[in-house]
């Protein structure tokens, strides 16, 4: 009789809950906890953090069983490519839009940022074609300029700093 994993998903989820709960609980002890009548800033987060840790451990316990049948409820392949490209496109958008002063990246403005985001995120789909990505980027760049900058009057830097000065 072996102790087996009934659900890998629940095992990892439970560990995640327990770790995050514990982290918050430990962090909360750094603030004044106080008493029930006079709660300090640490009281409620400590309480909830401990509760989350305990429930996370219950989830872990439920995921491990003696009699395990079935496939162990695997988490499945992680889609690294879309994950990396979508998140990357988003981060790149932020970097280009406003620049990162501390490492000397100048702000490139909305239009450049839109092109970068669209091209990078297009790569996450199947059958990437540069022509299609550029067409879509152009449509969306013009569209966002018209709706967000002219229409809704949102404050964006539209062009790179070195052009507008």
């Amino acid at each position: 009789m072996h102790v087996q994993i009934k659900s890998k998903k629940n095992l990892v989820a439970g560990l995640m809950f327990a770790c995050v709960g514990a982290a918050f609980a430990i962090g909360a002890t750094g603030y004044n906890v106080g008493s029930a009548a006079r709660m300090g800033p640490g009281y409620f987060p400590l309480m909830i953090g401990v509760l989350l840790t305990l429930l996370g451990l219950v989830v872990v316990g439920g995921a491990i069983g003696v009699h395990a049948d079935g496939d162990g409820d695997p988490i499945g392949r992680i889609a690294w490519k879309p994950l990396g490209l979508i998140i990357g496109a988003n981060v790149l958008f932020g970097v280009l839009l406003a620049g990162v002063g501390s490492i000397g990246i100048p702000a490139m403005g909305l239009i450049v940022a839109v092109y970068a985001l669209v091209i990078v995120s297009c790569m996450a789909g199947s059958g990437f074609r540069m022509k299609m990505a550029l067409t879509l980027a152009t449509v969306l760049a013009v569209g966002s300029y018209l709706t967000f900058v002219l229409g809704l009057n949102l404050q964006f830097q539209v062009w790179p700093t070195f052009i507008t000065g």
Binding site: P41, I78, P82, I86, A89, N90, V91, L97, S121, L152
Partner: protein
């Protein structure tokens, strides 16, 4: 009764102004437009479009958001029927018979049944809201901090009990949400908690960034990970929009039953749009088939009309706890609470007296919005159908862009873009681990409120925890929460519940 008419006329006077009508229209249109896109549910739609309403006056902003909400729900059913892809959990059951009808070339009739059923249910739901809000507000004024705390416990428990999936994981997601909601400056002591000396974090985590990351990016990534063949593309033609006389005769009682069920379940904490749609379908399935009627699962119009009516009625009445108590019963309402706070309106019972135009105007605009949806959708169905033929590879970069621009414009700060990136990764992890993200959002919004009420309740009782059990209303609310838990955990019901959700997913 007299008051009701007075209040509603104030509401209509507000809602019918040209400006507000326009925003209701824009909201419905945008909501449907985005809701129609496969894989984007109402929560993601509302989160994505929320920044567009910042600049508006509060009444107009809420009217537009409400329009976005039911627009996206409506759009979701269109996608469910035509593409066999439920955009949101509550249209999962609509898919079963709706898509069969579409395959048989009766997609038009299915859409009309969904639309007319929803409209009728929306009208009834709005009236319920107008009738029940004032007395509930009266009760809410009697609530002290102990009652509020217990009510939030009940609301949160209700929300997870009615959700699908693992109960304990859902509770964990709530707790995680509560903790994330505590990030930022503590109002009582001024201490910046869990902010790691990052100035942007002292204002708390932006709920929009969290919602967009978890609901928007998380789902896009998961969608892209699926091979293309699994994303069924719509090819069939829609013709013959109007249901036949026979259809009408069959769907009328189904719509009535669905509406009654949805209105009742929507009020409950936990706002069961999903549960009411499912329950309505089950009831229809239990009723006897008339001679010559198509069996369920093969394109019975009742299987479309009843759940659609139920989920729209539920969507309408779920505004009741949000507007009267300030407690959101589902993740969309949580976003609405956030939107109200941005406009400096503290949600709660005082809204009805301090902002009557806003309160009644919003209610009246719901009815107008429902009417607009019918007018907008039935003739424009051709446009939505066109939209569905756009391949996903053209759509998702646009969605990613709207999220990024939307989240940036919230504070004009790139920090929110980094935040949405982090929560996009977190959201994908939740999906992979089978953790339902909606309870997290509820917890995030309720976290600070819960802490504040707990603190006040215990301050008043000098640290005596029994205050939650000795005050009758508080005790009743906690007992109700406990009862819900016991009911769900009872072995016989547990297996039924699992069976029910499995059947629904299949």
């Amino acid at each position: 009764m007299h008051d009701l008419i007075n209040n509603l006329s104030l509401g209509f006077a507000t809602a019918i102004s040209l400006q507000n009508l326009m925003y209701a229209f824009i909201g419905c249109l945008l909501g449907t437009l985005i809701g129609v896109l496969p894989g984007i549910g109402p929560t993601a739609t509302v989160a994505m479009l929320l920044p567009a309403t910042y600049a508006l006056p509060p009444v107009a902003a809420l009217i537009m958001l409400a329009g976005i909400y039911y627009g996206s729900q409506y759009g979701g059913s269109t996608t469910a029927i035509l593409v066999n892809l439920p955009g949101e959990a509550s249209s999962v059951v609509t898919v079963i018979d709706g898509h069969q009808m579409a395959k048989q070339g009766r997609g038009g009739a299915a859409l009309a049944a969904a639309g007319l059923g929803s409209f009728f249910a929306g009208c009834v739901g709005t009236l319920m809201l107008a009738a029940f809000a004032p007395p509930l507000t009266e009760i809410a004024f009697k609530f002290g901090p102990a009652e509020y705390f217990s009510l939030m416990v009940l609301g949160l428990i209700g929300a997870v009990v009615l959700a699908s999936g693992s109960l304990i994981k859902a509770i964990c997601m709530i707790l995680l949400g509560l903790l994330l909601g505590l990030v930022g400056t503590d109002v009582n002591s001024g201490v910046a908690r869990f902010s790691f000396d990052i100035p942007e974090l002292t204002d708390g985590l932006s709920f929009i960034a969290v919602a967009m990351g978890v609901f928007g990016y998380g789902e896009i990534i998961a969608n892209l990970a699926r091979p293309d063949e699994e994303r069924e593309v719509f090819t069939a033609k829609v013709s013959g929009l109007f249901p036949t006389g026979e259809d009408f005769k069959r769907m009328l009682p189904a719509v009535l039953r669905g509406t009654a069920l949805g209105s009742a379940l929507g009020i409950l904490p936990g706002g069961g749009a999903l549960l009411s749609a499912f329950a309505a379908y089950t009831i229809e399935k239990k009723t006897k088939l008339k001679p010559g009627e198509v069996p369920f699962g093969r394109g019975n119009i009742r299987g479309v009309a009843a759940p659609e009516a139920a989920n729209n009625a539920g969507a309408q009445t779920s505004f009741i706890p949000m507007l009267t108590l300030g407690i959101p019963p589902n993740s969309v309402m949580a976003l609405m609470v956030g939107a109200m706070t941005i406009h400096n309106i503290q949600p709660g019972p005082q809204v009805m007296t301090s902002n009557p135009e806003l309160f009644w105007g919003l209610i009246a605009s719901m009815w107008i919005g429902n009417l607009m949806l019918v007018i907008l959708n039935l003739p424009l169905i051709g446009v939505w159908v066109k939209l569905l033929t756009i391949p996903y590879r053209w759509l998702f970069p646009a969605i990613v862009l709207f999220c990024a621009i939307g989240v940036y414009s919230t504070n004009n700060n790139v920090f929110d873009i980094w935040l949405v990136a982090i929560f996009g990764i977190v959201g994908y992890a939740f999906l992979k681990l089978g953790c339902e993200p909606a309870p997290l959002l509820l917890g995030l919004i309720l976290g600070p409120m819960m802490e504040e009420n707990l603190r006040r309740a215990l301050l008043l009782s000098r640290g005596d925890w029994s205050v939650f059990g000795t005050r009758p209303i508080s005790l009743g609310l906690l007992m109700a929460a406990l009862l819900l838990l016991v009911i769900v955990l009872a072995p016989s019901i547990r297996s039924k519940r699992e069976e029910a959700f499995v059947e629904e997913a299949g």
